[in-house]
């Protein structure tokens, strides 16, 4: 590193003299780094970590905002917003963005669903919430729908709607393939609980009968003698 030019030295010193090092020490050193051309890796590691965390949070918030408005945002805006997300090195957010792109592409096919007599608005609302909800909200909704399928009427309506969805919006169904498949499987109602290894009562009934028979036989044998 070489000495600063008189102008650069004056500017650097004047700038730093206006900073209070008691709580602007980082700013003083940032100005010094800039004046002397020091590399950025001499920034405080905590500072870099905090900035990284904030960058990730900011990006995640942008993805979440698109997810929250996936059903209402104009498609062009949605597509351009999704395309503008800098998601390199963020595999989880990339997965959400890919899901949102699939939903965006399928949105145009959805109005056709409502014209079908098998259309079930309640199920479709739940399905939308599963597709565009946060992980916990979607998880709860999946379980609620699965639970409602214990009801025969709801199950019948739901399965009809499932068939309709698979025909009209297969790409959306693929996003929740596992869950939709589990809804299509016939569910057994839990039977009453039984104890481990079943009841041993029958064994003891056999024992008592055998013992009584043997004793009677012995008595008969002895008395006959």
């Amino acid at each position: 590193m070489s000495k600063l030019s008189p102008e650069a030295a004056s500017a650097y010193v004047a700038h730093c003299l206006r900073l209070n090092p008691m709580w602007e020490a980082e700013a003083v050193l940032a100005a010094r780094a800039e004046a002397h051309g020091l590399s950025d890796d001499q920034q405080s590691p905590y500072q870099r970590a905090a900035e990284e965390a904030q960058r990730k949070t900011e990006l995640r918030d942008r993805v979440y905002s698109l997810r929250d408005n996936i059903w209402t945002l104009p498609l062009d805006q949605l597509r351009s917003d999704l395309a503008s997300l800098p998601l390199d090195g963020e595999p989880e957010l990339q997965a959400i963005a890919a899901k949102l792109r699939t939903i965006a592409n399928a949105r145009t096919q959805l109005p056709a669903l409502t014209r079908d007599k098998r259309y079930d608005a309640d199920f479709f609302d739940c399905f939308k919430q599963v597709l565009s909800g946060g992980p916990r909200e979607s998880a709860a909704m999946r379980e609620q729908v699965a639970s409602s399928f214990h009801d025969k009427l709801l199950r019948k309506r739901g399965r009809k709607m499932l068939k309709l969805l698979k025909r009209e919006a297969p790409a959306l169904c693929e996003l929740e393939e596992g869950w939709l498949k589990s809804l299509g499987v016939k569910q057994k109602k839990p039977a009453a609980a039984a104890n481990e290894g079943g009841s041993n009562g029958w064994i003891w009934a056999v024992v008592i009968i055998v013992v009584v028979q043997v004793i009677l036989g012995l008595v008969r044998l002895l008395t006959n003698e």
């Binding site: 030295a9 709580w23 905590y46 900011e58 916990r136 709860a140 379980e143 609980a193 481990e196 013992v211």
Partner: protein
């Protein structure tokens, strides 16, 4: 600076900085580092660096400062000093020539007005070199003078001479404990001192500040030396630095204890020398001198030591364990950014491959896994506080309880090869009990009957054989009942403990590994329920039943695989 109020309706009171950071963070009486971190994270969400860079800087600086002060045991506010007058006196009277002003203020023993010096430099009324020479000649220099001299020397002299630091240290030697000079030295040593010069700089610091305060002042530099240099250099430099401190006879050792606790966090993992043992002994012996806010840090070091004692056992076996161990080591020894990246990558891998997690952590008690789990949970929680998505709503525990009941019930009745073997053995056990009971009853009955008849009719000739039989039958029945009562309980316990109990345990473990556990992983995956909530619900259910669900609960309780998976789920977006 951007408009504070725009970040949130509940904007903090920025006027409290820098004098009252505790008030700024809304910390009440008796607050600790956890409270500070929670409130700091809350404010961070309001003041993101992209939108509010200035506020973010001030927030971060205030947090780091207060956090360090808590660790080193001084929570009192920074004392009033000359800095505010000096730096913020922008509305001072019209300026005369710089040299006149410096001379005038020197005679009044007042601090120089740095703002006016800056204005003069900008107006071209003087040069940095001229100002430097004038300030240097002052007979009595204030901390702001030393700050200005440090800046000017740094701007005009060769940088390799570290003139900035030299003047700051000179200022600290003359004004021990000045908070602004200390803050700048701390930041400079922690970030901008070239690594190869650090040992020399640290020794220079120990000579300028030869007391317990040295440790706090230079902590950032030691961190860099530990991470960038060799441990040997660290130990030798520290020994050199401690000489003037010992010679100063400063009775306080709280700073040294706090520093050793801080350095041990690294040294326990990386130190090939004996320093860690000596340092640990020093901390243990002088723990009563440690600042109170270090209790958790000390406990954490204890757990690290416990884990390291089992480390070899832990890392043997599945490669995933070794990788998790390496991430834990990075979390304790690397800088925060690198540690965060390693932790996030590992959590993403665990979420992607629950089957590997399941293989790596078989459901059995393990002291090594227990110690590792504690550290892993603590480290993950810390990273999650910065990166995990916020949890908007609490899970509906009642709903999930119902789903867990259904799940355990379904698994209880689900058929499998192991379950079939188990059931067949239960039937065979029943038959064995019947056969043994029959043999016991018959042996006892016939033995007693024949014995009675022989005794009464043949040996003693008291009665006819037929009469003896009539007497013998009730005697034999009573003897059989007595034998059954006396022996059956023992036989049953023997059978249970020696054969049936171990067999059931073995079969339950096989069922758990092959059939039940994958279902539990799948349930955790789709429910995102916390492991402890899942475990407690299963345990409550098992308490009410005495069947396979008791075994399920038993193995869930010792299943670290599920627990690690649950931790990773915090990071799911």
């Amino acid at each position: 600076m951007s408009d504070h109020g725009k970040a949130d309706g509940n904007a903090p009171d920025w006027s409290l900085l820098p004098r009252d950071p505790a008030g700024f963070f809304s910390l009440g009486e008796g607050f600790d580092r956890k409270d500070l971190k929670r409130n700091y994270n809350h404010l961070l969400r309001q003041f993101k660096p992209e939108k509010y860079p200035d506020e973010f800087q001030r927030l971060r600086a205030a947090y780091e400062e207060l956090e360090r002060r808590l660790r080193y045991g001084h929570v009192t506010d920074v004392a009033a000093n000359v800095w505010d007058e000096s730096v913020e006196a922008a509305d001072a009277e019209p300026l005369v020539g710089a040299s006149d002003r410096i001379a005038a203020e020197a005679t009044q023993d007042k601090p120089n007005d740095l703002e006016s010096l800056a204005t003069q430099l900008e107006a071209g009324e003087t040069t940095v070199e001229q100002l430097y020479e004038q300030l240097r000649k002052l007979p009595k220099k204030t901390p702001p003078d030393f700050y200005a001299l440090a800046l000017m020397a740094d701007a005009t002299g060769p940088t390799e001479k570290l003139l900035l630091l030299s003047w700051l240290l000179e200022g600290l030697a003359e004004w021990p404990g000045d908070p602004a000079l200390s803050r700048l030295v701390y930041a400079y040593v922690g970030t901008q001192t070239p690594l190869e010069r650090l040992p020399q700089v640290l020794v220079a610091c120990s000579k300028a500040v030869p007391g317990d305060a040295f440790f706090e002042l230079t902590e950032g530099g030691w961190d860099r030396l530990l991470r960038g240099g060799s441990f040997d250099t660290f130990a030798k430099t520290l020994a050199q630095c401690e000489e003037p401190i010992k010679a100063s006879r400063d009775p306080s050792i709280a700073g040294r204890v706090a520093f050793y606790i801080h350095a041990l966090r690294f040294a326990l993992w990386k130190d090939p020398t004996d320093w860690k043992t000596e340092a640990w002994e020093f901390v243990e012996d002088d723990y009563d001198q440690a600042p109170e806010h270090l209790e958790n840090d000390f406990d954490a070091l204890g757990i690290v030591r416990e884990y390291l004692a089992h480390r070899e056992e832990f890392t043997q076996g599945h490669p995933l364990r070794r990788r998790m161990d390496q991430v834990l080591e990075v979390a304790f020894t690397a800088d925060q950014l690198e540690a965060d990246r390693a932790v996030l990558a590992m959590q993403a891998e665990l979420l992607e491959t629950p089957e590997a997690l399941s293989e790596a952590f078989p459901p059995e008690p393990s002291e090594a896994s227990s110690a590792f789990y504690t550290l892993w949970a603590w480290m993950s929680h810390d990273t999650a506080s910065r990166y995990a998505p916020p949890v908007d709503s609490e899970p509906d525990y009642r709903m999930w309880q119902g789903r867990i009941i259904d799940l355990l019930h379904r698994l209880q009745h689900q058929g499998s090869f192991d379950k079939t073997i188990w059931n067949v053995m239960a039937i065979l056990k029943g038959f064995a009990e019947v056969v043994v009971a029959l043999v016991a009853i018959l042996t006892s009955f016939t033995g007693t009957l024949f014995g009675t008849v022989f005794l009464l009719a043949s040996l003693l000739s008291l009665m006819a054989e037929a009469d003896a039989i009539l007497v013998g039958i009730p005697v034999a029945i009573l003897a059989t009942i007595a034998a059954l009562v006396l022996l059956w309980r023992r036989w049953s316990a023997f059978l249970e403990h020696r054969f049936w109990g171990p067999f059931c345990r073995r079969m339950a473990r096989r069922c758990y590994r092959r059939s039940w556990r994958p279902e539990f992983f799948a349930f955790m995956d789709r429910s995102l329920l916390d492991y402890f909530a899942f475990r407690d619900i299963a345990s409550d259910l098992a308490d009410q039943q005495n069947d396979e669900r008791t075994w399920m609960s038993h193995f869930i309780t010792q299943d670290y695989g599920l627990a690690f998976y649950s931790i990773a789920q915090q990071f799911r977006t």
